[in-house]
C-alpha cells in the first residue's frame, strides 16, 4: 500500500506492506537512518520519534497509523542550520558515547522541554526512564538535558 506521512514538516510517500512498522518505514522505505532499532519488545527506546509532539516508540506503531500525523525525527531537530539546544547540550555535557540511544533520548528531551521548559533532574530522569542507554550511566544525559533547559534561548537565538 501507499503510505504518506508528514516527516519533519514534509509529506513523504512510499510503497510498503500494511504490516510495516513505523521504525522500518522511516529507515528502509524513506532511507532515514537516524532513527534506530534496538529490541523486539518495545523496551529500549532507541526508536523514539515524536508523533504530534509526543514521544512514541516507533516500533510499536504501524507506519500506516502515522498517516495524517506529524512525525519528527532526529533529522528534524536541527532547523535552518541551527542546532536544537538539546543537540548542543548532548555535545557540551558528553551525553553520548556510541550514539545509538542518542536520537531517541534527544527527542524525548525535546518533548519534555516543550511541555516543561525548566524540569528538575528527577523529572528528566523520569522522562527518559523508558529508554535504555548502555554506555553513559545516564548522569551526563541528565546534565545534557539540563544544559539545554538552561541555554535554550541563547542557542536558538
Amino acid at each position: 500500500m501507499q503510505i504518506t506521512i508528514t516527516v519533519n514538516g514534509e509529506p513523504r510517500t512510499a510503497e510498503a506492506e500494511p504490516r510495516t512498522l513505523l521504525v522500518h518505514f522511516l529507515r528502509d522505505n524513506l532511507g532515514m537512518k537516524g532513527t534506530h532499532w534496538g529490541c523486539d519488545t518495545s523496551n529500549c527506546g532507541a526508536c523514539v520519534v515524536l508523533v504530534d509532539g509526543e514521544p512514541v516508540k516507533s516500533c510499536t506503531m504501524l507506519a500506516a497509523m502515522a498517516e495524517g500525523h506529524e512525525v519528527r525525527t532526529v533529522e528534524g531537530l536541527e532547523r535552518d542550520g541551527h542546532l536544537d539546544p538539546v543537540q548542543q547540550g548532548f555535545m557540551e555535557e558528553h551525553g553520548l558515547q556510541c550514539g545509538f540511544c542518542t536520537p531517541g533520548m534527544m527527542l524525548t528531551a525535546r518533548a519534555l522541554l516543550d511541555s516543561n521548559p525548566n524540569p528538575t533532574d528527577d523529572e528528566i530522569r523520569v522522562a527518559i526512564s523508558g529508554q535504555i542507554c548502555r554506555c553513559t550511566g545516564y548522569k551526563n544525559i541528565i546534565k545534557s538535558v539540563r544544559w539545554a533547559a538552561e541555554h535554550g534561548e541563547e542557542v536558538t537565538a
Binding site: T41, L83, L96, R125
Partner: protein, 788 residues
C-alpha cells in the same frame, strides 16, 4: 611526566569530534549500510537445548516468491564450512549438521528480498528433532552418565574442557595450617550475564566474483583479527578481504567473537552474487551471542587475629556452554582470573579453574573488563568483607591494613603478575573523604536503632589490562601488538591510522589528543582513521581496555618518530646540528637562540618541498610504529556504595555511589568520567538485575529486555567521582586504560553494601543478582539459594 614541566596542549576536556554526526542522526552503523541489490538474511534457530537433527526440509521455504536461497549445515559441509574455529582453539557449528547443542543455535539461513520475507520463510522450514537429555547445571556436567554434548569431537566421552591452576597449592596449604583464622565459603556464583549493547550484532557481506574481493561491514571490535580468521577459515586470500567496522553501537566484549551469522552472510553473498545483510534481533543477541561470567567460585581465606590476611585459595567451576568460545589470550583458558589476589600483599595464593560444557550458548567474553578480572575482583572483595565480619574489623580498615604499599611497586603477586604502580591507601582515602565515611557509619548506627536498613559497601580493585606482551599473549596465534601510522601533510595537518576501533569510547578524539600532545599541534588538525582493515595497520582491536595501553602507546611512539624526523629536517633548514636543537611544544629551536626555530608545520612543508634533506633522511613526514607492551597496566580504584533496603519488599535503593579511579594519566578527563559512569551503571545492573537464566530443560528465560533487565535512569544514582593519578611507569604517556574499571569494581561494592544492610538479620552473603525476591528470602532465612 607531561604536565609537570610544560603545559600540554593535547590533553584536557576536549569536546568529542564524533559528536556532530551522532547528534544529527548521521552516525553510520552496520544496519545503515544499504547497497544496490542488497538481500536480507535470517537465521533459523533451534527451539531445543539438545537434540539430534533427523531431517531438514527447506522446500516450502525455497518456494516463497521472495526467497533467493536457503542454506543448511549440509550445504556448508560441502564447502568445509559447517564448523568454524573459536577464539579458544575449539570448534563451533556455523549451521548445525548433526545435533543442536543449545536453544537458539543456528540451524539454517534464509536469504530473501527483504527482512520481513526472510523471517516469514523461516517458518516454512521443517526440522525434525529427536530430543536428547540436557546438561544445564555445570555441577552435574561431569557426572558419570551425563549426556556427552560434544560427541562431534573424536573420542570425547565427557563434558570436560580444561583444568587450569595458578599459584602454589603447597604454600597455600602451609599458611592455612599456620594461620589463626581460616574461613571457607559456600559457593559464590558470578551469574551468567550478557553485555547487551544497544545495537545488536550484524553484518553486510558483499562478495565480488569478478575481482574476488570480499567487503564485510560488521559489528566487530577487532576488525583485523576477524580478517585474518576469515582468511584462515574460509581459505579466502587475506588481501582480498576488507573488514569494515563502521560506527558501532556499543560492544562491551559482545562484539569480539565471530558469529555464525557473519559467516552465513558471507556464504550468502557468494552463493547469490549479491550483497547480503544479516542483523540479529534482540532475542537472538541475548540467547546466542557471547555471554559473560558464569563462574561458580569457592573461596578459602586465611588470616591472623590482628587482621593480617595471609593466603587465599579459589576453586572455580566454569560453565562455558556448548562450544568453548571464550575470547582471551591462548595461554590463559581462565583469562586473567589469577589476579584474584586483588590489591593485597599475601603470603600465598592458589586457584584452580575447571571448564565444562553445558547445553547453553557459547561465549565467556570479557564483558566490559579484562579477561575474567571481574569474577576475580568480585571473589576477593567478597572474601575480604566476609573476613572483616568474622574478625569484627571494619572492612575499610582491614583493606588498609593489607594493601600492597606504595613503596612495594613494582610488586610481583603470588600468581606472577607484576603490578606497575599504585598508591592504594591514597586512592582509598580519597573515596572515604568524598563519601564522608565516618558520618555514614554514624548515620547507619542511628538508622539501625530506628529499624531502618542502610548499608555501606566498599570495594577496592586492581585490574590487569592492555593485553599484552607478545611473548606471553596471543589470540589464535596472533600476537597482541598494535600498529599506528601517522602522516603529516605538507600544510601540517595530520592523519593517524590505528588498529583499534571505538564503540563509543571516543578514539577519534583521544587519539588525536595524543598526537596533539606529542607534536604540539591542535587536536582539530589530526584526523583519526580506524575500523577499516584496508585503511589501517594491523592490530588486535578494542577490548580488555587495551586501546589506550597498547594502541595509545603506539600512537605516542609514532608521534615521537615524527618529532625526531622533524628535528633532522629543522637542522637542515636552520643549518645547525640536530644536537643544537631543543624541543618545545610544537617546535624545534636553536639552543641559546630561541627565536630561530621551525614548527612541526614548517618542517612538514619543508619535508615535502625542495629543501635538501640530510643524508639518510627520506622526504615527507610519515612514520609507522608497532607497540609490543613490555607489561600490562594496572588501574585501580576505591568504590563506596550506600544502599537503603526496604525489609518489607526486599527492594534495594542505591542512594550514593562514590568511585575514585586511578587510571594513570588522563588524556581527556571528560571522556574518562563518561567511561566510569557507564561502567558503574553496568556493574550496578549486574549486581541488582542482569541474569541470563535457564529452566531445567535448557530453555533460556532471559531472551528479551522484558526478562533480562538492564538499568534504566531510575535505578542508578547520581555518580560521585574522584581521582588519584599514579602514572604507569612503562607506558609512554603514563596512561593505564579505564573503560572497564568501574564495571569490575562496582558489583562487589553493591553486594557488600546490601550484606552490610542486612547484618541485623544475620545475613553474611547474598548472591547476585540481588533482586527484591532474593533480599526478602535472605531476610527470612539469613541466606539465599544460588542462582541457576
Amino acid at each position: 611526566m607531561a604536565g609537570t614541566t610544560e603545559r600540554p596542549t593535547g590533553f584536557g576536556r576536549l569536546k568529542r569530534k564524533e559528536d556532530p554526526r551522532f547528534i544529527r542522526g548521521q552516525g553510520h552503523y552496520v544496519d545503515d549500510v544499504t547497497l544496490p541489490g542488497m538481500l536480507h538474511g535470517a537465521v533459523l534457530r533451534s527451539p531445543l537445548a539438545h537434540a539430534r537433527i533427523t531431517s531438514i526440509d527447506t522446500s516450502a521455504a525455497q518456494q516463497h516468491p521472495k526467497v533467493r536461497a536457503v542454506i543448511t549445515g549440509k550445504d556448508l559441509e560441502a564447502q568445509g564450512l559447517a564448523w568454524m574455529p573459536t577464539l579458544s582453539a575449539d570448534t563451533q557449528a556455523v549451521l548445525a549438521t548433526d545435533k543442536v547443542r543449545f536453544q537458539g543455535q543456528e540451524v539454517a539461513f534464509v536469504i530473501a528480498d527483504d527482512e520481513y520475507a526472510a523471517r516469514d520463510a523461516l517458518e516454512l522450514i521443517d526440522v525434525d528433532y529427536e530430543p536428547l537429555p540436557v546438561v544445564v547445571d555445570p555441577r552435574t556436567a561431569l557426572d558419570a552418565g551425563a549426556p556427552v554434548i560434544r560427541d562431534d569431537k573424536d573420542g570425547k566421552s565427557d563434558n570436560h574442557i580444561f583444568d587450569w591452576e595458578a599459584g602454589s597449592e603447597e604454600e597455600c596449604d602451609r599458611v592455612f595450617e599456620d594461620a589463626d583464622v581460616t574461613l571457607v565459603t559456600q559457593e559464590i556464583p558470578f551469574q551468567r550475564v550478557h553485555p547487551a549493547p544497544l545495537e545488536t550484532c550484524g553484518a553486510v557481506a558483499d562478495y565480488d566474483a569478478v575481482t574476488g574481493k570480499l567487503r564485510l561491514w560488521c559489528t566487530t571490535q577487532a576488525p583485523h583479527a576477524h580478517r585474518t580468521l576469515y582468511a584462515l577459515v574460509a581459505g579466502l586470500p587475506e588481501h582480498k578481504i576488507q573488514v569494515i567496522a563502521p560506527d558501532i553501537g556499543g560492544g562491551f566484549g559482545n562484539k569480539v567473537p565471530i558469529y555464525p551469522g557473519y559467516v552465513c552472510a558471507i556464504v550468502g553473498s557468494i552463493v547469490t552474487g549479491k550483497p547480503v545483510k544479516w542483523m540479529e534481533d534482540r532475542t537472538e543477541n541475548l540467547t546466542s551471542t557471547g555471554f559473560a561470567r558464569d563462574y561458580l567460585m569457592r573461596g578459602r581465606i586465611a588470616a591472623d587475629r590482628d587482621g593480617k590476611i595471609r593466603a587465599l585459595r579459589v576453586d572455580v567451576l566454569a560453565d562455558h556452554g556448548a562450544f568453548n568460545a571464550t575470547a582471551q589470550p591462548s595461554k590463559y583458558p581462565a583469562g586473567f582470573f589469577h589476579i584474584f589476589t586483588g590489591s593485597y600483599d599475601l603470603e600465598a595464593a592458589y586457584c584452580t579453574v575447571k571448564g565444562v560444557y553445558t547445553n547453553k550458548a557459547p561465549g565467556g567474553v570479557a564483558y566490559r573488563c579484562s579477561f575474567r578480572v571481574t569474577e576475580a575482583a568480585y571473589l576477593v572483595e567478597r572474601m575480604v568483607d566476609l573476613l572483616a565480619d568474622e574478625l569484627e574489623i571494619d572492612p575499610v580498615e582491614l583493606r588498609m591494613k593489607n594493601f600492597i604499599k606504595k613503596e612495594q611497586f613494582p610488586y610481583t603477586t603470588r600468581t606472577g603478575w607484576v603490578y606497575d604502580s599504585g598508591d592504594y591507601a591514597a586512592t582509598m582515602n580519597e573515596a572515604l573523604r568524598i563519601a564522608g565515611y565516618d558520618e555514614l557509619r554514624k548515620e547507619q548506627a542511628e538508622k539501625r536503632a530506628r529499624g531502618e536498613y542502610m548499608g555501606i559497601g566498599c570495594s577496592f580493585f586492581t585490574e590487569t589490562v592492555g593485553a599484552g606482551p607478545k611473548k606471553d599473549m596471543d589470540i589464535a596465534g596472533l600476537g597482541m601488538a598494535d600498529g599506528a601510522e601517522l602522516r603529516v601533510h605538507p600544510t601540517g595537518k595530520a592523519v593517524l591510522r590505528i588498529s583499534v576501533k571505538t564503540q563509543g569510547q571516543g578514539h577519534e578524539t583521544t587519539f588525536a589528543q595524543i598526537v596533539a600532545e606529542e607534536l604540539g599541534i591542535p587536536p582539530e588538525d589530526v584526523e583519526v582513521v580506524h575500523g577499516d582493515t584496508d585503511q589501517t595497520p594491523f592490530g588486535l582491536g578494542t577490548y580488555g581496555s587495551r586501546s589506550t595501553p597498547v594502541s595509545g602507546a603506539a600512537t605516542a611512539m609514532v608521534s615521537r618518530k615524527i618529532r625526531d624526523k622533524a628535528r633532522l629536517i629543522a637542522s637542515a633548514a636552520l643549518e645547525v646540528s640536530p644536537d643544537d636543537l631543543e624541543w618545545e611544544r610544537g617546535r624545534w629551536f636553536v639552543k641559546g637562540d630561541p627565536e630561530k626555530g621551525q614548527t612541526i608545520q614548517e618542517a612538514a612543508f619543508a619535508a615535502h618541498g625542495t629543501l635538501t634533506l640530510p643524508e639518510g633522511v627520506e622526504g615527507h613526514l610519515d612514520a609507522e610504529a608497532v607497540y609490543d607492551p613490555p607489561n600490562l597496566t594496572y588501574p585501580c580504584g576505591a568504590y563506596i556504595c550506600v544502599v537503603d533496603v526496604d525489609p518489607g519488599t526486599g527492594e534495594v535503593k542505591i542512594r550514593r555511589f562514590i568511585a575514585v579511579d586511578d587510571c594513570g594519566v588522563r588524556i581527556n578527563p571528560m571522556i574518562v568520567e563518561g567511561q566510569v559512569h557507564g561502567g558503574l551503571a553496568e556493574g550496578v545492573g549486574i549486581a541488582l538485575m542482569q541474569h541470563i537464566a535457564f529452566d531445567d530443560q535448557g530453555n533460556c528465560l532471559s531472551g528479551s529486555f522484558m526478562d533480562y533487565l538492564v538499568p534504566s535512569s531510575m535505578e542508578v544514582p547520581d555518580w560521585e567521582l574522584g581521582e588519584t593519578v599514579t602514572p604507569s611507569p612503562h607506558h609512554p604517556i603514563g596512561a593505564k586504560g579505564v573503560g572497564e574499571s568501574s564495571n569490575v569494581g562496582s558489583p562487589p561494592a553493591v553486594v557488600n553494601a546490601v550484606v552490610d544492610a542486612l547484618e541485623p538479620f544475620g545475613v553474611r552473603h547474598v548472591d547476585m543478582p540481588v533482586t527484591p525476591a532474593r533480599v526478602w528470602e535472605a531476610i527470612q532465612h539469613g541466606t539465599t539459594r544460588p542462582p541457576q
